[in-house]
Every structure is written in structure tokens, then in C-alpha cells.
């Protein structure tokens, strides 16, 4: 079995994100960029599945400009076997991303497509689900535990009510939650080896996909500053206060 893992390049989770002065986006110049942490967890799980002998190959894929190759190389250094870079200068929205991934799925025919449940830049939480629908295969999202047997995946999901375990037939789309695993540290010899692992660059039009912009982003703004709090003497005052604000 082959596992396809998607890696999105995002501003590192440790960086305090700043909106560009012209409001056209967030500042990425000179900012540390990393693999989306949920994607890194997905890759870690795929590698563990392979190390258990339940998969033969782990392929990482990313969509974006040339600099996403840095994250793909990191994925290769973690242990992925090869990488696919779908090249585009724009930042595709979830639906376009899912369409692109479907094309890769058709080429690669993986048993599992493993994504992060969401990316920490736009927090959309859509691409995995959309891909499953387009592909017409089962999905198991927000995975915190994955077990494979007899062509099925038993996945424990983190849902609002707690944990639920479902079984899906493979091939399927899985998305990782935070507590699925703790990704490994990259080994230095693997960094060196990663240089020699195959990384294919695929042009967007080669996949027959138009870089459809399904959303028009007009403006970025930092969250408004929080106004100072107010300490009230009694519950009665609180009710009055809420009524005055028209909230009650």
C-alpha cells in the first residue's frame, strides 16, 4: 500500500503573525516557515504505519511556489520516500486544492491519503473532506488513533462529545488531530539522504486544472484590540449590563 501525505507550508506556529501594512496578507518575508503541524503529525503516522510493515511507500505532496520544496525536503528527511511538488504561484483555496489532490490520487492510487485536519494559517478544515467527496471514498477525520487490518482502518476520532471509533474501507481519506502522535526529530544523516530522494515538479496545467480562484480576498486585518474588562459587584449588575448592551 502507498500513503499520500499532504504538506502545507505555513508560518511557523511559534511566530507572532503580523498583518502586512497594506492589508494584502500576512508578513512572510524573513519569517520562519514550517510544515503545517497537523500535516507533520499525518506524515509521522504514515511513517509509523510503514515502519510497522503496513505500507510500502510514503509519498509527500505540496502545492505552491518553489519554496514549498523546503518543506518537502523536510518531509523526505523525516523519512518519506519521494515528493511531488505541484507548482503554482497562487495559494489555492480548499476546493481547488482538493481538485489538485484528486489528480494526484488518480496518478498515484494510494491506499490512504493523509492530511492534517486543518492548516494553522487559514484554519479552513475543508480540504480532506472535499477530497473524500470528489474521490467518492470514505473519510475519517480528526484521527487520534489509527489501526489498520484487512483493508480497513479503525480510526478513533476526537469529536465534540468525546471520542468515537469508526471503521472505514480503504482507500480512504484520513485527517490527523493534534494528539495522534508526536513527530520525530529529523536525523542528520536523513537530511543528507533527502537531497538524493526524488522530488517531481508538476505544473498545474499538466494536471488539467485551472487555478480557479473561488474566493476573492479583499482585506486582512489584525484582530481588534481587546477593550479593558470591568469588575461588577453583583449578578444583578451583570444582568443590567447585559440588558443595556442588548445582549439579554
Amino acid at each position: 500500500m502507498k500513503i499520500l501525505v499532504t504538506l502545507k507550508r505555513v508560518v511557523d506556529y511559534n511566530v507572532r503573525v503580523r498583518v502586512k501594512s497594506d492589508g494584502s496578507g500576512v508578513e512572510t518575508d524573513g519569517v520562519k516557515m514550517s510544515i503545517n503541524p497537523f500535516d507533520e503529525i499525518a506524515l509521522e503516522e504514515a511513517l509509523r504505519i510503514k515502519e510497522r510493515g503496513d505500507a510500502e511507500e510514503v509519498v509527500v505532496a505540496s502545492i505552491g511556489a518553489a519554496d514549498v520544496q523546503q518543506q518537502l525536503r523536510t518531509g523526505l528527511a523525516m523519512g518519506a520516500d519521494r515528493a511531488l511538488h505541484v507548482e503554482t504561484e497562487s495559494a489555492p483555496q480548499p476546493l481547488t486544492a482538493a481538485r489538485i489532490l484528486l489528480k494526484l490520487v488518480e496518478r498515484e492510487e494510494p491506499g490512504i491519503v493523509f492530511l492534517g485536519k486543518q492548516a494553522i494559517d487559514d484554519d479552513c478544515n475543508q480540504t480532506g473532506q472535499m477530497l473524500a467527496a470528489l474521490w467518492d471514498r470514505p473519510q475519517a477525520t480528526f484521527a487520534s488513533k489509527v489501526e489498520l487490518s484487512d483493508g480497513k482502518a479503525s480510526v478513533t476520532r476526537e469529536v465534540d462529545a468525546g471520542l468515537e471509533t469508526i471503521q472505514v474501507d480503504l482507500p480512504a481519506v484520513l485527517t490527523s488531530d493534534l494528539r495522534l502522535n508526536e513527530p520525530r526529530f529529523v536525523k542528520l544523516p536523513e537530511i543528507m539522504k533527502a537531497k538524493r530522494k526524488p522530488l517531481d515538479i508538476i505544473a498545474l496545467d499538466e494536471l488539467g486544472i485551472e487555478d480557479a480562484v473561488d474566493h476573492q480576498i479583499s482585506d486582512f486585518q489584525p484582530p481588534p484590540k481587546r477593550a479593558g474588562g470591568k469588575i461588577l459587584e453583583s449578578a444583578g449588575e451583570l444582568v443590567d449590563e447585559l440588558k443595556n448592551k442588548g445582549l439579554l
Partner: protein, 598 residues
């Protein structure tokens, strides 16, 4: 607690824009060392330093190493064994080591960046792989083929550690007084007996075997330093399959209680008829050990830099967050109850002195790292030799200046923190305690100054000095016509001129009276260091200025380089003037008072 963030942006600037790596082109160590590898190594090195090593720094300080009297074993603080496993398992112990023994063979100047990061994150931890690397280097250079095959692969992989055993109760700086004996046996091995003290990493539970390099005397060896040989004494004798077997006659008999680096085990080692193997030639042990000492001195300088870098970051964070009083020029942050203390001139002075040191020293360290790489591995003998002159000259300067300033910057960080820095919670006082030893070990800074004036100045018939002054003069000449750069070039030119004059003064006086050199040495070393730093700041300014003109990259980063260069040239470099005066005052004021006057 300080949250260390590795200075990746500055490393990228230095590696990709500042350092001239053209001289290294074609070297085998450079084949793999492409910018994407630099990037990957720095990013992952930063990650393990920040996420794995730094969180253990305060724990290690609190708990320290534990000596178990019953069996002479040493237990590391919680978490260290696992962290070491991750560190070695990820291959960091072999970063620059020879691929023939399982290393990655990357250039030493990349290793220096890693060294800075792990020392900033956890200086006690950093000591262990640092010592193993030192022992590796001695064995790699002086060991027999058989010894190398037997010991190096597991030292490179980090499964085994390495130590250096010089000091004895009666001899520290003066190694001629060594008493440890080594008597030959029929099978070619030796019986080593004696006591060694202050042996870092002498005993601990992070490795399965420890390879001690021990200085000792053979029977009938000449007195003094000419009669010292070097021996390899493994904790466990290695069997024919290369595995640790029988326990050897070496044991830790106690740990020192120290002011800082509390999870670096400082051991007293007892050698009782231990089996040892000669490394290199008999009576040539000190020369072999000095290979290790020179590399260790550079790395000690980098320790000072690393801790300064972490302490500076903590100071900046605190100065931005701590609201207290208003700017002298009126409120700068009127929406806040008070201004952050970063608005105050004296706080800025402290931060800028720290920043100018840290970034200038980082540049000087890596620049020297490139020369060291050339000296060690370049195929052309002449290139190796020339690069070696720079390294020889800069080693005592980097050791002494970086560690003196490491201490200074840690103290400045505490001063910025005020009372919050003096209590333990902020973690700043740990930097002050941990960094202090770097001024003392690997040869005190006073000894470094004597090495500079006594050996390096006169050594290689003046070639060492030329290796510094010629490139500086060429650089000044190249940029002398550019008015926009004059505020960086002119101060460098003046300082280099003064340093040359002072060098001549020291040189002429010392031939008639060695005490003249001794009395001048520390001030002279500081003067040299400041001039070398001025060279590095001028070079950084030229690069930053060029990038700004071309509109490349992050303008704010380059502007900060120019601002810091200006601060250095106007507020730190002028110390050379008073240092020059002190040198010219000569030995008289120091040596005239009788011993009884004290």
C-alpha cells in the same frame, strides 16, 4: 524562564551573504554543504536545541549530577539521558566527523553554529558531546588505524563518550608537574596509575562506555613537559567484537560542587592499574593534547557567545514587556499605564552592547570557522598554512574575549531585569553562574593573553599578524572612497593603525623584559579583539549597505545591522584608545609595588 529562539535569520545572513566560501570551493567537505543543507541543519539544530535541550536547562541546574558513592557511578538529572539519546540518535554528534567513521563530514563552520545553539540552550548538556568531539579529534589525528577503527565509530555515533584528563591536584596550568604513571607491559599496553581532577564528563549514565585520554609519564621520561605521553584508557575494555567488556581500573571518586554548569559532571578520577594504550609517540603527549586544546578553546569562546546570545534575548523580551515609568522625552506608549523600559537610554545601551557583541562575535566565530575548515581540510598546503595563521592568532582572542563578554552580557541581562534577574525564577542568574567558568577553564583568560603575546605574536615569523593586518588593510583600501561607508571604515582604519603601533611597542619592549609583555597582555588582547570585531562589523555593514541599495530582502534587518555597526564603532571601539594608553604605561606601575604591599 527564558525561551531561547535560535538566531536563524542572523545565521542565514552570515552563511549566505557575509561569509566568503569561495576559498572552500572544491573541497570534499563542501560537496554536500550546499545552502539547502545549511538551512536544513540550522532549522533542525534549532529545533532540538529549543524544544529538547532548553527545557532541561533549569531542571539540570536545580537537580545537578548525583554521585553514588557505593559504585562510583554518576546519575544525570531527569530527562538528560533521553535528551542525549535523541541528540545522538539524530546524528548531531557526527555533524563534522569523518564519513569513514560514520560522521556526516560537514564543514566545521557549520558545527560552530550548532555549538552556539546547544550552548545557548543548555551549556551543561553541550559539554558532553563537546568533549567527545575533542577526544575524537585527537584520536583521529594521532591514533593508529587499529585504534581509530576500534573507538571512533561509536564515539561519532555518540554511543561512547570521550574525556580529556590533564589536571592533577598539584598541577593545573603547569602540566610539567604531572605525576600519573604509565608502565609498559609485554603486550604493548601500559598500566596507568594516578589521580586526575576536574575531569568533565568523567563519569555519567548517558553513554555505554567512556574513552578517557590521559596524560601520564612513562618510567625514565624526561622531567617537565617533554616527558609526558598520552594514553587512551577506556572505562570498559573493548572486546574483539568491538563491544564493551571487562571493567577497567578507572573509577570516579567524587564530584565537585560548583557555582554553575551543575549538570556537567566534574569528576575526580582514580586510575588504579588501569589498562591504557599509547596514543601517538612517547613523550609527545602534550603536543597531541594541544590539538584538542586549541579546538576546545575556540569552542569555549563559542560557549560564552551562546550563553550571551540567550541572555541577551531574555533581556530584550523583558525590556519590551516590563512597564515602568515614562520615556525622558515624554510618554512613548500613552495607551499603556507606563512605557516599557526599552525606551530608556541606559537600558538601550545595555541591550546594544549585548547585541553588538553577540552579532559581531558570531560573525568573527564563523569567519574563523571558515579559516579552520581551510586549515584542516584544504588540499593545498599553502592555503592550509595561511588559514592556520589566522586561526592560531584568533584562538586565544576568541577564547578570552568571547568568554569575558559572555560574562559581561549575562550580567547586563541581569541588570536589565533588575530584581527579577536576581531571583531564580527568570533563569537569568543561571546564565551568570554558568558562563563564569568559561573565563577560567581551557586555560584562564590570563593564560590566553600570554599565549597571544608570548607565542602568537612572535610565532611563524610574523605571518600570524600579517594574516590579520593584510586583509584588513586591503578591505579598508577597497572601500575608502565610499563616503556612505566612511562611518564604518574610518574607525576600523584608525583602530588597526593604533593596534599596529601598539603591537610594535609590545614587541620591542618584551625582547628586553618579558614582564613587559605579561603586564601588557590582557589589555593588548582586548584591543586586538575590539579591532577584529570592528573588522567584522565593517564587513557586515558593507554587505547590509549593498543589500539595502539593491532593495533586496528585509530592509529592517539590514538597517539594524548598520545601526548596530554604528553603535559598535562609536560606543565600544573607542575603548582601544584607553587600552593603548594602558599598554604604553608599561610594566612599571604593575611590577614596582613589592609583594608585601598587598
Amino acid at each position: 524562564m527564558p525561551r531561547y529562539k535560535a538566531p536563524l535569520e542572523d545565521f542565514r545572513f552570515l552563511y549566505n551573504e557575509f561569509l566568503d566560501l569561495s576559498a572552500c570551493a572544491g573541497m570534499t567537505s563542501m560537496e554536500e554543504a550546499t545552502p539547502d543543507i545549511f538551512e536544513a541543519v540550522l532549522t533542525e539544530g534549532a529545533r532540538i536545541s529549543e524544544e529538547r535541550l532548553q527545557p532541561l536547562n533549569a531542571i539540570g541546574d536545580e537537580i545537578g549530577c548525583k554521585f553514588n558513592e557505593a559504585d562510583g557511578s554518576v546519575t544525570m538529572p531527569d530527562g538528560f539521558v533521553d535528551a542525549y539519546k535523541d541528540y545522538a540518535g539524530a546524528g548531531w554528534t557526527g555533524l563534522t566527523a569523518d564519513p569513514e567513521y560514520g560522521g556526516q563530514g560537514l564543514p566545521v563552520f557549520l558545527g560552530l553554529a550548532m555549538s552556539e545553539m546547544i550552548n545557548a540552550a543548555n551549556a551543561s548538556f553541550a559539554a558532553y558531546p563537546g568533549l567527545t568531539l575533542g577526544a575524537y579529534e585527537v584520536l583521529h589525528r594521532y591514533g593508529t588505524e587499529e585504534q581509530k577503527k576500534r573507538y571512533l565509530p561509536k564515539m561519532v555515533s555518540g554511543q561512547w563518550g570521550g574525556t580529556m584528563n590533564l589536571t592533577e591536584p598539584q598541577c593545573g596550568t603547569d602540566l610539567g608537574l604531572i605525576r600519573t604513571r604509565a608502565e609498559p607491559r609485554d603486550d604493548g599496553s601500559y598500566v596507568v596509575t594516578g589521580t586526575k581532577i576536574w575531569i568533565s564528563a568523567g563519569e555519567h549514565d548517558m553513554v555505554e562506555n567512556n574513552i578517557h585520554l590521559v596524560l601520564a609519564r612513562t618510567p625514565g621520561a624526561p622531567a617537565g613537559t617533554r616527558g609526558i605521553s598520552l594514553f587512551l584508557v577506556p572505562k570498559f575494555l573493548v572486546d574483539e567484537n568491538g563491544n564493551p567488556g571487562e571493567r577497567n581500573g578507572v573509577k570516579c571518586t567524587g564530584l565537585e560542587k560548583k557555582m554553575g554548569i551543575k549538570s556537567s559532571a566534574t569528576c575526580e578520577m582514580q586510575y588504579t592499574a588501569a589498562k591504557g594504550y599509547l596514543v601517538g609517540e612517547e613523550n609527545r603527549g602534550l603536543a597531541a593534547m594541544f590539538t584538542m586544546m586549541n579546538a576546545a578553546r575556540l569552542v569555549t569562546g563559542i560557549q560564552g557567545l551562546g550563553m550571551a546570545s540567550a541572555a541577551y534575548q531574555a533581556a530584550v523580551d523583558f525590556a519590551r514587556e516590563r512597564l515602568q515609568g515614562r520615556s525622558l522625552a515624554g510618554a512613548r506608549y500613552p495607551d499603556k499605564p507606563a512605557d516599557p523600559i526599552i525606551v530608556h537610554p541606559d537600558v538601550r545601551r545595555m541591550l546594544l552592547e549585548s547585541k553588538a557583541f553577540v552579532e559581531g562575535a558570531r560573525a568573527l566565530g564563523l569567519y574563523t570557522g571558515v579559516q579552520l575548515e581551510l586549515e584542516l581540510r584544504h588540499p593545498d598546503e599553502q592555503v592550509r598554512q595561511r588559514a592556520g595563521y589566522w586561526v592560531a592568532l584568533m584562538t586565544p582572542i576568541i577564547k578570552a574575549y568571547f568568554t569575558d563578554m559572555g560574562s559581561e552580557v549575562a550580567n547586563l541581562s541581569m541588570q536589565v531585569h533588575g530584581g527579577a534577574g536576581y531571583v531564580r525564577d527568570t533563569g537569568v542568574e543561571q546564565f551568570v553562574r554558568d558562563v563564569r567558568i568559561t573565563q577560567i577553564y581551557e586555560g584562564t583568560n590570563g593564560i590566553q593573553a600570554l599565549d597571544l603575546v608570548g607565542r602568537k605574536l612572535v610565532g611563524n615569523s610574523g605571518e600570524n599578524l600579517k594574516a590579520f593586518f593584510e586583509p584588513v588593510q586591503a578591505f579598508v583600501a577597497e572601500h575608502a572612497e565610499n563616503d556612505a561607508l566612511a562611518c564604518y571604515i574610518k574607525p576600523l582604519e584608525d583602530a588597526a593603525g593604533l593596534l599596529q603601533e601598539t603591537t610594535a611597542t609590545v614587541y620591542s619592549k618584551m625582547s628586553s623584559d618579558p614582564e613587559e609583555a605579561g603586564a601588557a597582555s590582557v589589555d593588548y588582547l582586548r584591543m586586538f579583539a575590539l579591532t577584529a570585531m570592528a573588522y567584522m562589523w565593517a564587513r557586515q555593514a558593507v554587505v547590509a549597505h549593498g543589500q539595502l541599495e539593491k532593495g533586496r530582502g528585509r530592509a529592517a534587518f539590514y538597517q539594524s545591522k548598520l545601526d548596530t555597526a554604528r553603535f559598535f564603532m562609536t560606543r565600544m571601539l573607542p575603548d582601544t584608545l584607553s587600552l593603548g594608553e594602558r599598554v604604553r604605561a608599561g610594566a612599571g606601575p604593575v611590577m614596582t609595588p613589592s609583594d608585601e604591599e598587598f
